[in-house]
Symmetry: C2
Subunit: 379 residues, 2 copies
Amino acid sequence: MLAVGLMSGTSLDGVDAALVEITGVNESTRVKQLKFASYPFSLAIKAKIQAALSVETSDVEAICSLNFELGRLFGEAVIKVCQEYGIDSETLGFVASHGQTIYHLPRPKETTRVPSTLQIGESAVISELTKTTVVSDFRPRDMAVGGQGAPIVPYSEYILYRSENCTRILQNIGGIGNATVIPQHGQLDQLTAFDTGPGNMVIDELCRHFYPGEEFDRDGAHGAAGHVDPELLATLLEHPYFAKPFPKTTGREDFGREYVARLLTTYRELNLAPEDWIATATALTAKSIAQAIDQFAIGETELIVGGGGSYNPTLVRMIAQELPQVKVMIQEDLGYSSDAKEAIAMTILGNQTLHQQSSNVPSATGASKPVILGKVTYY
Amino acid sequence: MLAVGLMSGTSLDGVDAALVEITGVNESTRVKQLKFASYPFSLAIKAKIQAALSVETSDVEAICSLNFELGRLFGEAVIKVCQEYGIDSETLGFVASHGQTIYHLPRPKETTRVPSTLQIGESAVISELTKTTVVSDFRPRDMAVGGQGAPIVPYSEYILYRSENCTRILQNIGGIGNATVIPQHGQLDQLTAFDTGPGNMVIDELCRHFYPGEEFDRDGAHGAAGHVDPELLATLLEHPYFAKPFPKTTGREDFGREYVARLLTTYRELNLAPEDWIATATALTAKSIAQAIDQFAIGETELIVGGGGSYNPTLVRMIAQELPQVKVMIQEDLGYSSDAKEAIAMTILGNQTLHQQSSNVPSATGASKPVILGKVTYY
């Protein structure tokens, strides 16, 4: 059956749409990517989303309206990716939509709040535009059984990457680095998932600081041109996050703009060149990933790197050097587009839902049991 | 199959839960009420809802959290109504939940907004608590085909009340009066629904004004004790709403507190006694209902009055006097509890959804076509 998966991430870049052919269910699921496209958000929509996700600038009318407006954009993305492949969206078996997260509150500090999460992009609108059944809103059901509603992709990673021949570790490098470990011959309940620490976040922030207009270290060029400062690297690796027990999660609050600003002030006297700062930050990401992965690389192990960081060869090379016993690859080596991975993951989750099968991974989210994720809007 | 319908209305009183036995689908649907209960909201929850539905006091975190918190309350209501009947909620075939409307924007004035509606009360939480499949969020799908997402109950009224022997008109009298006309031998697409004008709103407001602490005219006692002022009544019936063509809707903005305050000032010199004011307001509601109904009372016609106004015998008597050719009854005469009607309606909508059948009424909502309403959260 044909299906389109939609992913709209926290970067607010736009919506990713993956057209796939999907068959089977549970362990027998097979997915083949037919077409992938990213449709960027307009500045106006980006501004509306940014206003909706902040406590200070959000209100109920704006959220109510934006839910329907995003539903339309998501539906149009489905129609476009189908057109680009030369089919009508009504021939799809289903659409699976992640939605735009506008709030995620797994562990509220205030006693007046309860653990909760909120994704928008009205499925009823997607369904009408595409003339197709829509599965949406995957995270709340995991949270209703005590999970954090995240990570949401490990089930699809298990389906796509599990191996009888080796341990496979999926290392995604976005702003934050996160890993999913699938042991050889492993069952779903043996999956482990955790954040390794910073992904591109520190590198990107240093690029913006030293090279105004450069949002990231393209092709790892600055990192490759610099020298790693071993003492600074050792100090940075003393960050308390790296010593925390698994499973663990981190975010912008630990390794974001404030963290980098503090580093630049504290280590000003080292007088490092910009390239050396970036090389050292790249080594920090690489080494923190390698230290975490090392504990799970039992027997023959493949590390499959995805996300924006997989396009930074300096970073990938440093990770490989730290893990000589591990075969390090990037998603493209296995025939998947790294960009498309999460949108494809949604089709696997949606397929499970329509078969009334579970697709959360309790060992990854902390949920008390497997549950059927998502809501079905029948066309 | 057993099912529970949940309704949580704009009055913010609490959540109504109706346990029913439901069989069949479409025209063959049969529903029997087994148990009905209302569970009032705590003051704390009421305050949170009130904050969430106002543009000024709402924010994304509060809405995100309240969605899950209400899901819990709704789930607990299901468990309680089942306990009161002596069964476990897991024996239910499904739960159908309307949700709490926190915003409804069918015709936005600002160009930056799109037609939209927002109901909360997370179905994933209801599903986990009740161990049952949940159907929820019925209004957005109608809006996605150009409908106003309201009224939502005409389909269930058609199922429960259509007759081969007569025209049946359902007159609900809440704050506003609204009618659904089901012609004899009528098909679904021949239904008409509209607001007749004020329901209890003007009467209630006058009671609060003249008798502090009295929220409504209990048993129609004040209205019965007073005399209708025919000239004032004639003037009030010149309100432009009554001359508008069908279908039409009105609200608090036309007949609410400001309207009543204006009347009391404008007609101060009449020196009417409080009972006469209330009698005249009761006649206004009765006459505006009768004038609207009269146009649809073709052949043998039954008018079935429900809502809070059906418990005001002065009002019901005045309506009957204005419509001598019509048989006027209240819901209880047909064996239904007027309070339970909307919660029962949800089970009929949910049943349609699970059978992948439509349940909006385009002639009532303005939708371009019948669609399958709601979202299914499988347990």
